[in-house]
Symmetry: C2
DNA sequence: TCGGGTAGGTGTACGGCATACGCCTAAAGT
DNA sequence: ACTTTAGGCGTATGCCGTACACCTACCCGA
């Protein structure tokens, strides 16, 4: 009976993501999102209960960009796992400021559920069952979340590394050498390297 | 020549940590910390440039609780690595709301540096050198940060798992089974399990 | 064609946040 | 005892999320 809605939750999420990508997570206020949409601030509350819900929509929007389809079943299951994790990394890595939100709002994301289903399916193919499967899934999830945050907040190749490399060699001898080594490693190589460690452990 | 300071940065950090442990990270405002100390809000700014710096002090306070001493050199190097990671987990796990701050403020924490020095020293003992050492260190750090956040925000054994276990079995067959398995795993076992995967990979 | 009721959009207001600025004054060094 | 210096504080500004009340465009039934 009343007038029709002129927006959708999807549009809110898209506008919020635009703001986050442009101004960072701290720049994402209800006011900023409303301005992005050309609406009044309070209009948003016709579509969303509160800020938390909007954050959840943003997370779902981002995660929906991860292809949940099982990779080529002809490939070794370890490679298939790697494919799934790298898909997640590529998608989340394109919106690094969203990663902390992902940790909070991952419950109830059907996209994440679909990704997880494919992952545990691959694990089952590899004969990983019961508690070992639970632990493998959580391990991969933890690694992705943690690695993306660290990478975004302090890339290995960046200035931070120079500071460490310049440490007093008598107190931090190995760290100084390690930091020097770190300068030659690009973030992608680093992520894959850490993932390879985990996958080797899963493969057992 | 002027009157003496009545507080120290350490007291600020301790008060802030008290507030965080009691009211959560969102409850830690400059006002709340000042009240905790029985001082005016603006008095804090005589000790600290801004909120960011106070957060950094909290992180350093927490991380200073991690024993950086090398574990018994007689133990296998893999066990020594496990000891170091578990020390970090126990300390950070006692203040889960601080974990996100740790990710942001880990640069410049000398306690973290000392912990890292010991860890890379153990890796060197194990013959892990160059890029492999860099990747192993970052892998462990990423896992700890990620796992602690996921554990705090959604324990495997909690209600979330029940929701997943109740999923439509035709669309999420493996996840439903995996969630059912997950109910029997306590967080400590889960953390150690994921860590074991990583350590196996490092051990090669 | 028209009238009523529903719900979309908005403006205002409130309490809380970080913090800039300027005042008052305790107290250390002379 | 007097001067000087910085510690502590009150106030104010401009953000934030959001409660609330209002107006009105619009769909539906007549």
């Amino acid at each position: 009976m009343p007038r029709r809605r002129s927006l959708s939750q999807a549009q809110l999420a898209a506008a919020a993501l635009t703001v986050i990508d442009r101004d960072g997570l701290a720049g994402m206020s209800m006011r900023a999102v409303a301005k992005e949409l050309g609406m009044s601030t309070m209009a948003l509350y016709r579509y969303v209960e509160d800020r938390r819900e909007l954050e959840g929509l943003v997370v779902e929007l981002v995660l929906s960009g991860v292809d949940p389809a099982p990779p080529d079943p002809a490939a070794p299951w370890r490679e298939r796992l790697e494919t799934m994790v790298l898909r997640m990394r590529d998608t989340l890595g394109a919106h690094p400021e969203v990663v902390p939100l992902t940790a909070v709002h991952r419950h109830g994301s059907v996209s994440l559920l679909r990704w997880s289903e494919t992952v545990v399916g691959i694990l089952a193919d590899g004969g990983v069952e019961g508690g070992r499967r639970v632990i493998a899934l959580r391990g991969m999830t933890s690694y992705v979340i943690g690695a993306l945050q660290l990478e975004h907040l302090g890339p290995l190749a960046g200035e931070g590394t120079d500071v460490i490399a310049a440490l007093p060699k008598d107190e931090f001898p190995v760290m100084a050498a390690t930091a020097a080594d770190a300068r030659g490693i690009d973030p992608d190589e680093e992520f894959r390297g850490g993932l390879a460690l985990l996958l080797s452990g899963i493969e057992g």
